[in-house]
């Protein structure tokens, strides 16, 4: 009971501290903007830990953060192998294939107004569909190693990137196109020097949506068959052994990988679209 009380006190303390910080004079400093969510996150983890101890929660239902952390420390090599199998081999290669495919199809479709008008609605329709459902089919076709995961990921990221790229390639005004014409620029110079660069904010929007989809696709596809390594495999087998702390350790890795993937994309976007109003 004493742990629960301490947890409640820490919660109140953290909240009060944040109220002070957010309404205080320094609330607009970049430092404070990082500190406040950090305090919030830390409070939740501490309260979680104390609640698990205080209520003697069965670790099969919810493990304490400390045991998850110790798993993260102990099982480093296994987690790294899973990370390589799922993220680097499955998700990343599929992501690259899907992106390249979508860009090529978008540029081809863009040459004809007719095709564009057809592909935009069909593509945004496909982007809303439960494409993860194709995972069992792909595993059957391509075997259980990373190729089938890459295929699922490629199909999942294809449509959001396609739709955004097609929309982005339309995003030049007639003044800009006329300027290129006065320079006697043909189709390809116009594409590479004007239209692709001005489509970049749209393309990155699609790429960022794709990062989460890629991880989901790679992990879910492993539930339907995988070699004895991989994050999805580890999640489902650790689950069978009731090693919930291992499951949570994989979740932490997946969360970090997802945020890092997204972060890298945002960083590249900042570099590439430095000229866009939203980045200045």
């Amino acid at each position: 009971m004493i742990y629960v009380l301490i947890a409640l006190l820490i919660w109140a303390g953290g909240w009060l501290l944040n109220v002070r910080l957010a309404n205080g004079p320094s609330s607009n400093l970049p430092m404070t903007k990082v500190v406040i969510p950090a305090i919030f996150g830390l409070t939740i983890v501490v309260v979680w830990e104390l609640m698990v101890i205080g209520f003697v929660v069965n670790p099969v239902i919810l493990p304490a953060p400390s045991s998850v952390l110790s798993r993260l420390g102990q099982e480093g090599p296994i987690l790294w192998a899973d990370f390589r199998q799922t993220i680097l081999k499955g998700a990343l290669s599929g992501y690259i294939m899907g992106t390249v495919g979508a860009l090529i199809v978008a540029v081809i479709a863009d040459r004809s107004d007719f095709l564009t008008r057809g592909i935009l609605p069909v593509g945004s329709f496909m982007a809303a569909l439960p494409i993860v459902g194709t995972a069992p089919i792909f595993v059957k076709w391509l075997g259980s190693d990373w190729e089938s995961k890459a295929a699922v990921v490629a199909v999942m990221v294809f449509f959001p990137i396609l739709v955004n790229t097609v929309a982005g390639l339309k995003d030049t005004n007639s003044m800009q196109r006329d300027l290129m014409r006065t320079y006697a620029a043909g189709y390809w110079p116009t594409l590479f020097k004007l239209r692709l660069p001005s489509a970049m904010p749209f393309i990155f929007n699609g790429l960022k949506i794709g990062t989460t989809l890629a991880l989901i696709g790679a992990i879910v596809a492993e539930f339907f068959g995988s070699p004895t390594v991989g994050m999805g495999f580890r999640i489902s087998t650790s689950f069978g052994q009731l090693a919930l702390d291992m499951v949570w350790a994989e979740i932490v890795v997946a969360a970090l990988a997802g945020s890092a993937f997204y972060g890298v994309m945002t960083w590249v976007e900042k570099r590439v679209t430095f000229w866009h109003p939203s980045q200045r």
């Binding site: 059957k140 989901i216 992990i219 339907f224 969360a255 945020s259 997204y262």
Partner: protein, 307 residues
């Protein structure tokens, strides 16, 4: 609207055409094996030798078997007419209470999706209101709401189901929880944007009217957020449906689209999987379409149809 009908039909026809062409090379080996067992003469004549040649070569060598590829019983890639036939059979020709009816399985999936979606949307809107009006919540919760979008939480849906099952909670609720979680953050993030969309001019005008905060919320912020809300609702409902289906996939669920996909896969009935997949796609399309229609009508009546 009318202008895009023909292009859309062309693209759909092209996809169907590619599909029809792909059926032959994908199934040719299986068809050839079966035909040989039935006593037909097949070139090349042993399964091992056939593995060495591609599906296309096999089709050219045995042109009389090509038509069989479209009606093969357990194909690797079923033909479009097989899938639509299976869907017709399981949607219209079975009683909707039957375990084989896709309508029954569709409802098993749809009910938790809708329940979860309603819960998630409600909570999302409440959180958004909290974030807009409380500086502390904005600063401490909003960054996490955005980060949580980048986490592949959907991949864990099956585990959540099993954990709750082991705690004795079964039925509608665990799946609704996942559907709610998945629609929660898109709605919250979109609504925060929407509630903040009134310009300072508009807010100042309300201040000159001496409007209270509550009045400002109901007559300016909430209406102004409608376009953002509908955009998030469309994302949220498809995310909820995907979440429910994934939750049904590897957990030994006995009913629902996800369970049908898995059953078809495990018991060698690819048609069942494919029919479930397409039925799920149609359901998603219908839900998104429904919200688009509501959006169009509502925004027009609010005088915002340009947006």
């Amino acid at each position: 609207m009318v202008k895009s009908v023909l292009p859309v039909l062309t693209v759909v026809a092209a996809i169907l055409g590619i599909w029809l062409l792909a059926v032959v090379p994908m199934n040719m080996h299986l068809v050839a094996d079966q035909a040989q067992r039935d006593g037909a003469i097949v070139q090349p004549d042993t399964p091992a030798a056939r593995q060495g040649v591609g599906g296309l070569t096999l089709a050219i060598n045995n042109p009389d078997l090509i038509s069989l590829a479209y009606s093969f019983k357990r194909p690797r890639l079923p033909s479009p007419q097989q899938v639509s036939g299976e869907m017709y059979k399981t949607i219209f020709q079975k009683k909707i209470t039957s375990k084989r009816s896709l309508v029954y399985h569709g409802w098993v999936t749809l009910a938790p999706t809708l329940l979860g979606f309603v819960i998630g949307t409600g909570m999302g809107i409440l959180l958004a209101v909290g974030i807009v009006y409380s500086r502390v919540m904005d600063r401490s919760v909003m960054p996490w709401a955005i980060v949580s979008q980048t986490i592949p939480i959907l991949a864990l849906a099956p585990m959540v189901i099993v954990v709750m099952g082991s705690m004795g909670i079964q039925g509608l609720f665990p799946k609704s929880l996942i559907a709610a979680y998945l629609s929660f953050f898109p709605v919250a993030v979109g609504m925060v944007k929407g509630l903040r969309s009134p310009s300072s001019m508009q807010l100042d005008l309300l201040r000159t009217y001496n409007a209270s905060g509550v009045q400002g919320f109901w007559s300016l912020r909430l209406p102004a957020s409608a376009p953002y809300l509908f955009a998030s609702l469309k994302i949220g409902i498809s995310a909820s449906l995907v979440g429910t289906i994934v939750a049904e996939l590897p957990t030994g669920a006995r009913a629902g689209f996800g369970a049908r996909m898995l059953v078809g896969d495990q018991y060698g009935q690819p048609l069942v999987s494919w029919a479930a997949l397409f039925a799920a796609a149609l359901t998603a399309a219908a839900l998104v379409g429904l919200f688009s229609a509501i959006e169009r009508v509502t925004l027009r009546r609010m005088g915002m149809d340009a947006a």
